[in-house]
Amino acid sequence: MASAQIVNLFKSFGKVQAVAGLSFEVADGEFFCLLGPPGAGKTTTLRLIAGLEKPDSGQIRLGGESMNGVHPMNRDVAMVFEDVALYPHWTAFDNIAHPLKLRKVPAQEIRRQVIEVAEMLHITHLLDRKPGTFSGGERRRVALGRALVRRPRVLLLDQPLTDLDAKIRQEMSNELKRLQVETRQTMIYATHDFEEAVGMADRIMVVNQGKEVQTGTAEEIYETPQTTFVATFVGTPAMNLIPCHAAQEENRWSLRHPDFHINLPAFGELALPQEAIVGIRPEHIAVTSESDPRAIPVRVDIVQILGDEQIVDLSMQSGVVVKAILPLTIDVRPGDQISIRFPLERIVLFDGKSEQRIVLPAR
């Protein structure tokens, strides 16, 4: 196990710039997540770390040792692929034992270690069978076993849970997190699913078009997205983004939209661009009474029930549609006219042009 430092990594395939100057550090024993849409460069980054691709430029260091020019077989890195990639002609035991056999570990010791890993992953009953008949979850467990058995410096996971159905995905991600905590194995995990990342990662790096967008804990990324990209990419349903005009009246700013005005409290020094974007998460939209001065009248379009909550599509008079998550105790039906408000403390502001977050100074 070891730390990993990636410095200014570039990789292109023909005209496509897959990785465009990524730098990050993963601490020894950390669970680090690369989060981004398909094509963001996550998989390429993992393959560069593994040595399966050669970088155009940049440094990769594992445990302080430069990996540039080191053949993948000698990097001591394990990878779990999206399609799992077990050796179909061998039993699960031989699959897991393979890296140990290559390291000339004595047969008895191999047996002990494989069984230990298999017990940890609850797959001892599969050891004598070939992967052909395994379920999706079983395959992942065996692949994890093969990757974990030799305690690599870094374990790379390339969207290993993508094809599983919701329930098994949940189980597997719980298990993976538990394993990581128990073994303190350094892991770099690529995914496009924020929920998956939240449940496991110590830190998350959001990438898009081969570049870093934001790095932080799940909470930081969810609560304070630095760009509109992060705001819409993270969370389902996504954060509502409503373009507004910012106007100054004396020393106060107000955000104007045909359907509503939001008056910001007096901040000391604050300069807003003329075009701003108001961001609000669906769960922060509150239902209020008609008499509320901040009330925004809306019509209920669609109601989707989700556990003790409901996702409600609301259309404002100008036709702008926002999604709100309301408790199931509020009885709304398509066609209803209701009033909502955007709690001031929950609003995130973005610059309409650069799409970067505008940090409001503390009062």
Partner: protein
């Protein structure tokens, strides 16, 4: 039924066997015109078989299918006027959107002028006019979904049957496509029957849901009612994520008070005493059900809440985007609880656990039916 007019499809004692294995057993169902009905159940519960019998792709072993009061049990699919949307949409990749839409009409030998008219009409209603001459393989997914619907709708079917169309899309995309589908269904006002094994999909899409288990109807109702009043243990454990906590308990009475007991864990349910005793009819074993999202840490208001006699211990905290799932140990029972994402729970923490009394679910241990 009073409103025969609205009844589009009726299934009567429908039954299907495959080589002696019963897939569907005595299913009765009325599909109301214009509704979005979901068939929900685990794989092998008979939901797809039922859909295929409505489409005419399977012949029932017994029972009947009616469309607008007409018996169509043995009518071949092409004479039924039902539309079938396949998994992953199965568009013709090499054709333009226009050709995709026209295909169904051409094979039915519709006059070319009519074809053009109907293709353009349906394209307009699904906002496809701009992409009519694009090749199908170049479309984005949400457009593909609309093309798939349009292709089926162009022959003006009475009902659209959808067999897990979103199955192979990645999470995230699924939710988006789901919202779109719901929007278009409401816009078009068409009757749709949608088969899925994903309870979240059924809950968010369906006006009504038919929950199926082992070839039978487990419950047929609105999503809200199914969530709040599951009719039996199967529905209770199938609906909701994470699923409802189910704990085997014993009913005892001490003086004026009534308790649900499991070893040293007790729950005072005196206010429900009469109801429970009537339902139990002498039994003492039953299953207690509480949804993870209805549990809450103390302190609790006096009225309308119940509290477990033992504190809960946090075994595992699993953060999600807006929420956290907690694994709790209470006595020897393992239960799940959902709290908001900002709630500061830590592993090993102890706290009193309770829930609003009206959120309690009780099930009969042998019939597995809901008791309250």
């Amino acid at each position: 039924m009073a409103d025969q007019q609205n009844m589009l499809i009726r299934l009567e004692r429908l039954r299907k066997e495959f080589n002696g294995v019963i897939a569907v057993e005595g299913l009765d169902l009325d599909v109301v015109e214009g509704e979005f009905l979901c068939f929900l159940g685990p794989s092998g519960c008979g939901k797809t078989t039922t859909l295929r019998m409505i489409a005419g792709l399977e012949t029932p072993t017994a029972g009947d299918v009616y469309l607008r009061g007409r018996r169509i049990t043995h009518l071949p699919p092409q004479q039924r006027n039902v539309g079938f949307v396949f998994q992953n949409y199965a568009l013709f990749w090499h054709m333009t959107v226009y050709e995709n839409l026209a295909f169904g009409l051409r094979v039915r030998n519709v006059a070319p002028a009519d074809i053009d008219h109907r293709v353009k009409e349906i394209a307009a209603s699904l906002e496809l006019t701009d992409v009519l001459h694009e090749r199908a393989r170049r479309l984005d997914l949400s457009t593909m979904q609309r093309v798939a619907m349009a292709r089926t709708l162009v022959t003006d079917p009475e009902v659209l049957l959808l067999d897990e169309p979103l199955n192979n899309f990645r999470p995230g995309l699924r939710e988006m496509m789901r919202g779109e589908l719901k929007r278009w269904q409401m816009h078009l006002g068409r009757t749709m029957i949608y088969v899925t094994h994903d309870q979240e999909e059924a809950m968010t899409l369906g006006d009504r849901i038919l929950v199926m288990n082992a070839g039978r109807c487990a419950q047929l109702d609105t999503p809200r009612h199914i969530y709040e009043h599951p009719a039996n243990l199967f529905v209770a454990s199938f609906i909701g994520r994470p699923p409802m906590n189910l704990i085997d308990v014993r009913y005892t009475v001490e003086g004026e008070k009534a308790f649900l007991v499991r070893d040293s864990l007790r729950l005072d349910i005196t206010p429900l005493r009469e109801k429970i005793e009537r339902a139990l009819a002498g039994e003492t074993q039953l299953v207690l059900g509480v949804r993870p999202e209805h549990l809450s840490p103390g302190p609790f208001p006096e009225e309308g809440w119940v509290q477990f006699s033992l504190p809960a211990v946090v075994d595992l905290v699993q953060p999600l985007a807006r929420k956290k799932f907690l694994d709790l140990k209470i006595g020897d029972a393992l239960i799940k609880m959902v709290v908001s994402g900002t709630a500061p729970f830590r592993q090993g923490e102890r706290f009193p656990l309770g829930f609003p009394l009206h959120r309690i679910h009780l099930f009969h241990p042998t019939t597995e039916e809901a008791m309250l």
